[in-house]
């Protein structure tokens, strides 16, 4: 997954065997995050287990216990406390990390605001998992997208290598703009799937990411109060500054990705990576592992002569408004594939894309598609179905086209269940 670089060359050729590489290992996405945390010299880890994030904290427990990372690992009693610990640790100037998923992220919600409002460069890995009920442990993005207004930067990774590289980039970006960063990876598709990952040399990482130097902290020699009561005369200005930092993050993301590319031989296009958009007439916008699948479908359709392309939304916060507008100027039809849904509205990235385009002078036809909820596979066929829909429609007819829906089959499944229950009774 995600083994194709920007120019279609294999990831091995594009970067794994770069001089900055210490070794190439075949690891799961969760472990890729753990090794990145080690390389980032994180000082305080606080986490609570939840499937499918557990690999992150298990591997980190091994790393810390073995003395390979000089960190405090607080094994808390909830995700809420995990984030509170990270906030406390980060307030002392330490580099802090947590990892969670789905319900755990939802439980943290209050403290996600607290971390961003405190302007703390905490980095979190969230393994995207569908929200219950009904219980699901499989991928979709409603968990993290529900947190979009908390003031956290959000990245979506396409490969285990990108997880590693984005965690390292995230600490640098977070500490530049004093905002927390969430790196999202798809449940099981990345979290439990082994891929070759280049582990960079510690020395090169140290050069890229120096120790944290906190602009403010809890300091007995300079006693200050943080987060105290504030009146209407100043609250707005603090929120304005938070957004200004988010705006600054756009340049930080691009610059850090470029610098990372120079040092490590891998970069990801900043906020958005375009794939085969030259001379494309129809482009699909999507994120995370659906991008890898879409690359395959785009290659196939291109080989058949169809003018299709792809744009990967890597950073969702800040939202890549400029990148989307530039795409919209060149492309007549854009479809957005969301692995999430805002009930009563539409797919969330579709909404954001639409909002970004509304004030543009040139606007494409914009289609919204929803697929892959609760871990339903997104296959090259799914992507081809989406392109086919756009080719056969002059414009969108619905705010959201649900792809691969099988309502009648759900009923059949229920009947089958009833039959088998009857059978058991007999």
């Amino acid at each position: 997954m995600g083994m194709k670089g920007k120019n279609g060359t294999s990831a091995e050729a594009a970067g794994l065997l770069h001089p900055s590489t210490d070794k190439v290992v075949v690891i799961e996405g969760t472990h890729s995050a753990s090794y990145a945390v080690k390389l980032a010299r994180v000082q305080v880890v606080a986490a609570y287990p939840i499937t499918p994030q557990t690999g992150v904290v298990e591997k980190l427990s091994d790393i810390v216990s073995a003395g390979d990372l000089d960190a405090k690992f607080i094994k808390v009693e909830s995700e809420h406390s995990a984030m509170a610990c990270c906030i406390g640790a980060s307030m002392t100037g330490a580099r802090a990390f947590t990892a969670t998923s789905s319900q755990g992220l939802a439980l943290m919600h209050e403290l996600l605001h607290w971390a961003a409002g405190s302007r703390l460069p905490i980095v979190m890995v969230n393994v995207n998992r569908a929200m219950a009920p009904p219980w699901s442990i499989y991928v979709d993005h409603n968990d993290s997208l529900s947190q979009r207004d908390t003031g956290w930067l959000q990245f979506y990774a396409e490969s285990n290598q990108e997880v590693m590289d984005t965690v390292l980039q995230a600490y640098k970006i977070a500490e530049m703009v004093s905002l927390p960063v969430m790196i999202n990876l798809d449940a099981f598709v990345l979290s439990h799937t082994s891929e070759p990952v280049a582990i960079p040399k510690q020395q090169v990482v140290n050069e890229f990411l120096p120790p944290r130097s906190a602009p403010f902290k809890l300091d007995i020699h300079n006693p200050r109060a943080f987060g105290a009561l504030i009146g209407p005369e100043a609250y707005m200005e603090m929120r304005y500054k938070l957004d200004a930092a988010m705006e600054d993050a756009r340049a930080a993301i691009r610059d850090v990705d470029t610098e990372y590319g120079k040092l490590f031989g891998r970069s990801y296009g900043g906020l958005v990576e375009e794939y085969r958009t030259d001379e494309a007439e129809i482009v699909l916008v999507t994120s995370a592992t659906a991008v890898s699948i879409a690359r395959i479908a785009v290659d196939e359709l291109r080989s058949l002569g169809f003018p299709v392309g792809l744009a990967k939304v890597r950073a969702f916060r800040p939202f890549p408004v400029d990148e989307i507008r530039m795409l919209g100027q060149r492309i007549g039809k854009i479809g957005v594939l969301d692995r999430n849904f805002s009930f009563g509205a539409s797919g969330i990235i579709y909404q954001e894309t639409k909002a970004a385009l509304y004030n543009a002078l040139v606007r494409p036809k914009l289609f919204g598609f929803v697929a892959g909820l609760g871990g339903r596979d997104i296959t090259p066929e799914t992507i081809k179905e989406i392109f086919s829909y756009m080719m056969n429609h002059d414009g969108p007819e619905l705010e959201a086209v649900w792809v691969g829906l099988k309502t009648h089959k759900v009923n059949e499944a229920q009947n089958t269940f009833a039959d088998s229950a009857e059978g058991q009774q007999k």
């Binding site: 000082q43 607080i74 906030i87 640790a89 980060s90 006693p223 109060a225």
Partner: protein, 322 residues
């Protein structure tokens, strides 16, 4: 009533000009805690009266670094601060979680239990004013039996007994916990200083009178606190390792009636209610007595010599002058 005269040790770190109500027990508690701990202290404050008392931006009365955190997060935030300091080589600074009864008995109990189970190295001070006072006197699980609050009106006063937070913490076998009262500041300061010398989770449960919440005149705060101790409603004691209980003041055993009559929140009580409360208090006192490893009278004969120094905790006669 005569003036209370005693010499309190320690620097005066808390500034005047804070936002507390007159007669506030929580403010006296912070003053004594900071006196006992000194300036190498970081305080974590969840949502509680002290979110206001310390002062709005850009003011802070505490005189030491303060971090305001979410309501249920005092113990977890303190855990993170301590870890952050330790990993950066600061092994000296004392971290204090300073929370009200709502943030301790109710919404913050999970985080507190988690931290206590992990034996996180901080001092947790709960100033217990027996209701949600900052939001306007709503009942908490620390509100006493049959008390009035705005959510337990006199037609249906609080029908449940106060949650026993000390027993909950004792069950975690933390190295040190103590009860303290603003009416006995030298006892409180001695306990905070003792706590400072111990590693691990330390818990101080402070009886913290609230004039507007309990409906009494601010000048009676100390008198009422003293009555709570002397009537055995709030005995002063220490618990070591969740096992060894030590009374630090033998209460006179005065009737609870005088205490109850001193506050508007109990004005609706009938004679039978007062009898019921007296009986509840007597029962709790007997339970506590059964747990005591040491009596006040047996000071100096303890088998914990070297751990507990009785000389640091003398009788409180100076503070009870009338």
């Amino acid at each position: 009533m005569g003036q209370i005269k005693f010499d309190l040790p320690g620097e005066e770190i808390l500034s005047p000009g804070h936002f507390a109500c007159p007669g506030c027990g929580a403010t006296l508690t912070m003053r004594y805690v900071l006196k006992a701990l000194g300036r190498k202290t970081i305080v974590v404050i969840p949502a509680c009266c002290w979110s206001v008392i310390d002062g709005p931006v850009p003011y802070s009365a505490a005189g030491v670094p303060v971090f305001h955190t979410a309501f249920e997060s005092a113990a977890s935030t303190a855990s993170g601060i301590k870890a952050g300091l330790e990993i950066q080589g600061d092994h000296e600074t004392t971290v204090v979680a300073f929370a009200g009864d709502g943030g301790t008995f109710d919404i913050g109990l999970q985080a507190l239990s988690g931290a206590a189970e992990r034996n996180e190295d901080f001092i947790y001070v709960c100033y217990d004013n027996e209701a949600y006072m900052n939001t306007g006197i709503q009942r908490s699980s620390a509100t006493p039996f049959w008390a009035w609050t705005t959510t337990t009106p006199t037609e249906s006063p609080k029908a449940e007994k106060k949650k026993n937070i000390v027993e909950i913490l004792a069950a975690h076998r933390i190295p040190y916990l103590a009860t303290a009262s603003v009416a006995y500041p030298d006892d409180m300061i001695a306990k905070i200083q003792r706590a400072k010398e111990i590693k691990g989770t330390r818990f101080i449960h402070v009886f913290s009178p609230c004039p507007p919440g309990w409906k009494f005149e601010p000048e009676d705060s100390i008198k009422i606190s003293r009555m709570a101790v002397e009537s055995r409603i709030f005995p002063l004691f220490e618990v070591f390792n969740g096992r060894d209980y030590k009374l630090t003041r033998e209460p006179a055993g005065t009737p609870v009636r005088d205490y109850l009559k001193s506050q508007g929140r109990f004005r609706h009580l009938k004679e039978s209610d007062i009898q019921q409360i007296q009986s509840n208090v007597d029962e709790e006192w007997e339970r506590l007595k059964g747990k005591l490893t040491f009596q006040v009278e047996s000071r100096g004969k303890s088998h914990l010599h070297g751990v507990v120094d009785p000389e640091r905790n003398p009788p409180m006669r100076r503070a009870i002058r009338k």
